[in-house]
């Protein structure tokens, strides 16, 4: 934005930063915006959409519609799509750096490191999408003529609230940990790094990801979290924010549909982060004639 004022032969065109719902880039239906400023300055960087309850509900509808098809893809396919996200992040390195330096005041070195971490997180969970099943699945030695086995399935639609302090690598790890097993996710980007929605949503839009599997909303957490907590079609919440009061309220509200409300993980890149968002199904199959 600020570049607009620079005198130049070609007047720069700024990208309008919008939401990412169902694979599309809509503005918020509410018509509201919230300003993001340039690092350490009062100058406007961009007006982000301030997502409403209706936007959240639209995102849940999109996620629900997409989740089954995403889960039905082969694990090998999900692995390749997650790896593709790493490739697209590499391709958008300069855009990420521009947002991180521009809005958060990162040095170029810091910004490059953040992008590296994001890429590493995609690669880590790409590699896990077709392996965690073998680590947590079991064949159970029951006493009787049954082939008894336990497999994992995605929990369904997950709402994600990231760290209080923005960290691109962590956010990517949190998204990838949820979708690797076949869940769909709605991400509330409410911290100072929310402008990174622009390159991030384009990564998801160009990675052959089923539309609606990842939905990104910029907005006010305090306004949106009660609607997350009470929404009957949200099956689980990944709450990586350290606000214990909000976590407690989400768990309380989640009792309306027995939501699995998961507090902050210890390690971003780990098996337990991923399996926080799976259900276990045990099947008794007969053995006999």
């Amino acid at each position: 934005m600020s570049e607009l004022t620079k005198s130049s032969a070609n007047l720069k065109i700024a990208k309008t930063i919008k939401l990412f719902i169902g694979g599309d880039f809509p503005r918020t239906e509410s018509g509201r915006s919230m300003p993001v400023f340039q690092a350490k300055s009062k100058k406007l960087y961009a007006n982000l959409c301030k997502a409403s309850r209706k936007d959240l509900r639209n995102a849940v509808t999109a996620a629900q519609g997409a989740q089954h098809g995403w889960a039905a893809k082969t694990a090998y396919n999900r692995t390749q799509i997650l790896y593709r996200m790493a490739e697209m992040t590499e391709g958008k390195r300069e855009e990420f750096i521009e947002v991180l330096t521009g809005t958060l005041g990162y040095t170029k070195i810091q910004a490059n490191k953040a992008v590296n971490e994001a890429i590493d997180a995609f690669v880590y969970y790409a590699g896990f999408a077709d392996k965690y099943q073998q680590l947590v699945g079991t064949v159970n030695p029951v006493s009787g003529p049954h082939h008894n086995f336990t497999t994992s399935e995605p929990v369904g639609v997950v709402a994600l609230v990231g760290n209080v302090k923005f960290n691109l690598g962590d956010l990517v790890a949190q998204i990838a940990a949820v979708i690797a097993s076949g869940n769909a996710v709605i991400v509330i980007m409410a911290n100072e790094g929310a402008a990174s929605i622009a390159p991030l949503s384009e990564v998801f839009a160009t990675s052959d990801l089923t539309k609606g599997v990842v939905n990104l909303l910029t907005g006010d957490l305090q306004e949106l979290y009660p609607h997350m907590g009470t929404h009957m079609e949200i099956n689980s919440i990944s709450f990586q924010n350290s606000d214990k009061k909000v976590l407690g309220e989400l768990k309380e509200m989640g009792a309306t549909n027995m939501k699995r409300v998961i507090g902050p993980v210890k390690e971003q890149l780990s098996l337990d982060h991923l399996i926080n968002f799976v259900e276990y199904k045990t099947v008794w199959h007969p053995i006999g004639n």
Partner: protein, 486 residues
Amino acid sequence: MQTTHHKPFHLEYAPSIESTDIVKIEAKNKLFIDGKFVEPTSKKYFSTVNPATGSTLAQIADANAKDVDLAVKSARKAYSKVWSKMSGKDRGKYLFRIARLIQEHARELAVLETLDNGKPIKESRDIDIPLVAAHFFYYAGWADKLDYAIPGKDVKPLGVVGQVIPWNFPLLMAAWKIAPALACGNTVVIKPAETTSLSILLLAQIFQEAGLPDGVVNIVTGAGETGAAIVNHNDINKIAFTGSTEVGRIIQKAVAKTDKKLTLELGGKSAHIVYEDAAIDQAVEGAINGIFFNQGHVCCAGSRLLLEESIASEFVDKLKTRMETLRVGNPLDKNTDIGAINSAAEHSKIQKLIQTGISEGGEYFEPTSSQLPEKGFFQKPCFFNNVSSAFTLSRIEVFGPVLAISTFRSVSEAIAKANDTQYGLAAGIWSEKGSKIHKTAAGLKAGVIWANTYNKFDPSSPFGGYNESGFGREGGRHGLFPYLSI
């Protein structure tokens, strides 16, 4: 739909009554805290009745918040001074020893369970108690192998665990809760349901016989207030509850703003799907077992029978014929198929729901052959045919011998109907085609799926639900996760 069914020729069974001589019930039953049976500070006792006769069996101590606090203090002391410091190998040895002692006391436990709960002796003897022993055996061996529980993860016990269990499988639910908790190095404060406290108090004596260190397991008897005192106690690290979704919600809210971990094993409205290519006679037997096992007091009961339209009429006729031969009556009779409803309150709840079904216009059937005993709480097995998914009995968990039957025409319709519930505990599939079983199983949103069988349980097999049937698994390697800090 045909309404006729074959009445089988009448067979008289000579009663074969299990003797109760083996059981000695104390008139007053105290709390089990710090390895000793102690008077409740409340000084209050309540009665427990034999549901098959309505007569009082014994008095049970009513633990108040102060008693619960003493139990938690005892569990905390045992955790920090003894149990968390003991090697996994030795914890395992205690559990193995307990498993053996349960086998040695098997008959006594089975008779006591039937007296207090009302379930048929053949079930307590052949299913409940053997599974109780098996559960302790299974988890005993895990105690020194927890490094293998989750690949690449160091695990630790959580501390003091508070557990609240239901009345439908009193001792089995105690085993499901206590065995993994102790194997993982936790200590326990557990509350049985107020109508079925006796068998777990006999288990306490087995703990004493086994020399289990004092305070590792503490048993506080009482009703909802006792349970609330456990759930709200601030020195408990984890709550595990089995019971209704209604109470599960209250518990989730109660612990929401604490650091307590939580697992919930709640209600269900499980679908039992029968395809036209099923072995029909076996499927009829499976449907019977699915809903009438344990008087239908089973969270995973196959309470919605979904029949493929082409076989529905034939199937319902066979079901009626089979239901005529079910023997309802004295739970101590070894011939009895369906025993007593556990309490007057449950009995009246079931009867009200049946009236709701009739008033909503369901096609009601109950067998005419058997006569119910005059005393005690008994309910004939029954079903409602041709019900829609809006029908109350298609949606509400009855927790009794009441089946709702509807039809479907395709695999996808069967899956959609089965999943049309807020619950997700279990489901059954009957088909002779393996690929169809697997396709259906993959589409069902339920934690346990039985193919060509139903209501089978095994300590090595994880059990637990999706959605509003709760979270966490009991049994198997997955049953360790809720009792470990990962």
